[in-house]
Symmetry: C2
Subunit: 466 residues, 2 copies
């Protein structure tokens, strides 16, 4: 299918999909989840061949993916996302008689999803962006990631067997084809998960269209974690072990990977020990491997950087650990603070915790920040906590950022350049809000109102009547 065919079909399908009763649209999302579940064995095997992530992780990821589809199906049935508001006429409204005014949020229109490489299920063909756009009532065109082409096609085939209405889903392949789809006049929005370089280039194309469209790009970050002196004293061993595990999970290929740790120097020995004992793992593909090794080599050669764990073989994928002090980091913040996608950690040692807050305030936007501290320290941490919350979409206390729970209160986003849309999330039920557009009806007869705005409330959605 060409990009034009895919988007044109999505345009045709859009009104019917948006106006479908919630129970029916929810049923389609569940049917896709069931179809993926039925093909589990084959899908996981293909994913492992193409991504090297291993069957246990990939089985868990597929479970997350079908769970996401069912969670969004539940959101559709509930209907709170319509945000239905009904203002009854009010002749005494202070600014003049208030008309009968009803507002809801409806589907924005066809959505283009750029699949990610590092989550071949959860952020790919039938991943969170697709599920949330479908839930909002938007047809979806997915641009497959070239890292797992056979899995992408097999996933699309499973979706194809689930009985979705024509035009509600299509898979396209190729970078040029992705750009062609992004420029298609029928498109209403696009979502992306991947590198900063790719995301910013596509965001510019979306902004430079004759009719610009929202572009929801999630581009990763270094996810700084801070260990207080008290925590280092009380739990050095546990923290070192936890850091090493989070850093090397999935070969370090998570956008929430804690690439930089601000800690007292006392933690260095423990982390070094754990990372020396951690075996390397193959990365997703050749391009990512090459990019990682080149970035690691460059970072290892920055001024003030010491190599604590550093394989002799320049092509080894065994974990690497660097350290520098806070002053050196601050002096080289642009280069030293850049994301190095892979199993490489940089421990920035500090003497004075207040200095860490100052440096963090100058760092670019992050998906997450973490603080490891002791309960008796909270009195002195308010300012640091505010800096962390100001620079990121999610802040963690005595936990590591890898492993993003799919829940109602999850926020997977953050200030630029972690994302291109800091007011939104790409994980959790609030992800649906990206693909909605409000419309108000003033004085309309009941039978021409959309069902969520009718007095009889046929879809039983929450209505705020005032």
């Amino acid at each position: 299918m060409t990009p034009d065919q895919a988007v044109t079909a999505a345009v045709s399908a859009a009104p019917g999909w948006a106006a479908m009763p919630p129970a029916e649209r929810a049923g389609h999302l569940t049917a896709v989840a069931d179809a993926l579940e039925a093909a589990r064995g084959e899908l996981v095997a293909l994913a492992d061949e193409e991504s090297h992530l291993g069957a246990p992780r990939l089985n868990g990821e597929l479970t997350r993916t079908t769970f996401q589809l069912k969670l969004f199906a539940g959101q559709v049935r509930e209907g709170a996302f319509y945000d239905a508001r009904i203002d009854r006429p009010d002749p005494d409204w202070p600014t003049g008689p208030r008309p009968d005014l009803r507002r809801y949020r409806t589907a924005a229109g066809p959505v283009l999803v750029f699949a990610a490489s590092n989550f071949p299920f959860a952020f790919s063909v039938a991943g969170g962006d697709t599920a949330s756009a479908w839930a909002a009532g938007c047809p979806v065109v997915v641009k497959a990631h070239p890292g797992h082409p056979r899995l992408s096609r097999r996933t699309a085939e499973a979706i194809g067997g689930a009985g979705l209405p024509d035009g509600v889903f299509a898979l396209i392949e190729g970078d040029d084809e992705g750009v062609e789809a992004l420029r298609h006049p029928g498109l209403a929005a696009a979502a992306f998960t991947g590198s900063q370089r790719g995301g910013l280039a596509l965001a510019k194309i979306a902004a430079d269209r004759p009719e610009p469209i929202p572009f929801f790009g999630e581009m990763g970050s270094v996810n700084p974690a801070v260990v207080t002196p008290g925590a280092a004293r009380a739990r050095a061993g546990e923290i070192a072990k936890g850091y090493a595990a989070s850093l090397t999970l999935g070969a370090g290929q998570f956008c929430t990977n804690p690439g930089i740790l601000f800690a007292p120097a006392a933690l260095l020995d423990g982390i070094t020990g754990h990372l020396r004992e951690t075996a390397g793992a193959p990365m997703l593909n050749e391009r990512i491997t090459t990019g990682y090794l080149s970035a690691a080599t460059a970072l290892g050669a920055r001024p003030g950087v010491r190599r604590l764990v550093w394989p002799d073989d320049a092509t080894s994928l065994a974990p690497r650990l660097l350290t520098m002090d806070l002053a050196a980091f601050e002096a080289d913040i642009d280069a030293a603070g850049e994301e190095c996608f892979g199993p490489l950690g940089l421990v920035v040692t500090y003497d004075r915790l207040a200095g860490v807050a100052d440096v963090l305030a100058d760092m670019p936007g992050q998906l997450t920040t973490s603080l490891h501290a002791e309960p008796d320290e909270t009195g002195g941490l308010a300012e640091l906590a505010a800096v962390l919350a100001g620079r990121s979409g999610r802040v963690l206390w005595n936990q590591w950022p890898t492993g993003v729970s799919v829940t109602h209160a999850m926020q997977h986003g953050g200030p630029y350049p972690a994302t291109t849309a800091p007011a939104t999330t790409s994980v959790g039920t609030a992800a649906i809000e990206r693909f909605l557009r409000p419309v108000a009806y003033q004085g309309w007869p009941q039978d021409l109102l959309p069902p969520p705005l009718r007095d009889g409330n046929p879809w039983k959605v929450p209505q705020a009547v005032r």
Copy 2:
């Protein structure tokens, strides 16, 4: 005050203003409303001198402005905009143990407001953008509109006497100064009401910053209205009168002005009669007058256009009326469909209502669309209604779009190029959502959580606990 001083002071004020207890921040909004009310006589007199809009309209607009401030104060007290979500830990969550996760929306940071000329109170210094940004917890820097400099300064003086914390408000003047502020690294978002040309130029500057920021531009539209054959037969007189009144209200200087009417030819005589009887009124300023007369002259000379009401004096501000048939309009849609800001109406006559839907579907995004029809016609209007809702932010039934009620269900926005942000509104309580940013807290101790996310709920905001 220089732009740098203004934004720097806003950056300093931001944390305290955002973290202020709702009752206290609401009190400040009310105090500003009271200060404006206390200066009413002087403010209205200045506004009339500088805008020529007349004391009755300006008194009403000031009432709307103080009402808006109080309405947003009520929203702050209620606290629903925090969207506080608390997910309790759940060891049995399908994708693995769910942590304690709490998400709310907090202030995005300092906001720059570009004031409009045509609403010297309601969309200017203390207008809806300022009120909604303050309500969200954002300090505001207003770039004054050069159309009413003395009123802007006097309004700022009144605000200055209301006791806001330092840095929460500043007024700057000058186009270059506005651009300088827009480029300031401390800025988090900008809002604009005005011309498409000005809005798009500023939107580009916001997007091209090293750290791009959201730009909420409301740029107006032609607001097509459609009269069905049934309505034309049943209520030609009433509709012609209503159209003429809405078209010439405030000298046609509303972004919701119904510039284009799709109607059976039978309506032409009535509208012509009413407009011949309507006197011209001075426009806001010389630049707007010149722009209007030049656009009117150009539109009057387009192919297929007939001049029904057209003063002999080319500089007259008396209302003008043009007509053309649907085929001619469709053939020249880009030029004929462009906004002409002032008291000029274009009636596009049609034979077949279905043809109107096709043409509307090809028109650019609109703030509003209106449909005038009879109750017994609703059975055949579903498709047309869907086209209208698809092309605009607000659809009206047997009403005219001028006069935007400030309520909970109002939507004042629409698809590009009516606005640069179709998912948002600049009027009504939902306007506050533009200036918020979600943050999630994972596993935090109670005393370091923001008050809206604490178990004790000290601010008594709505919390969704799951």
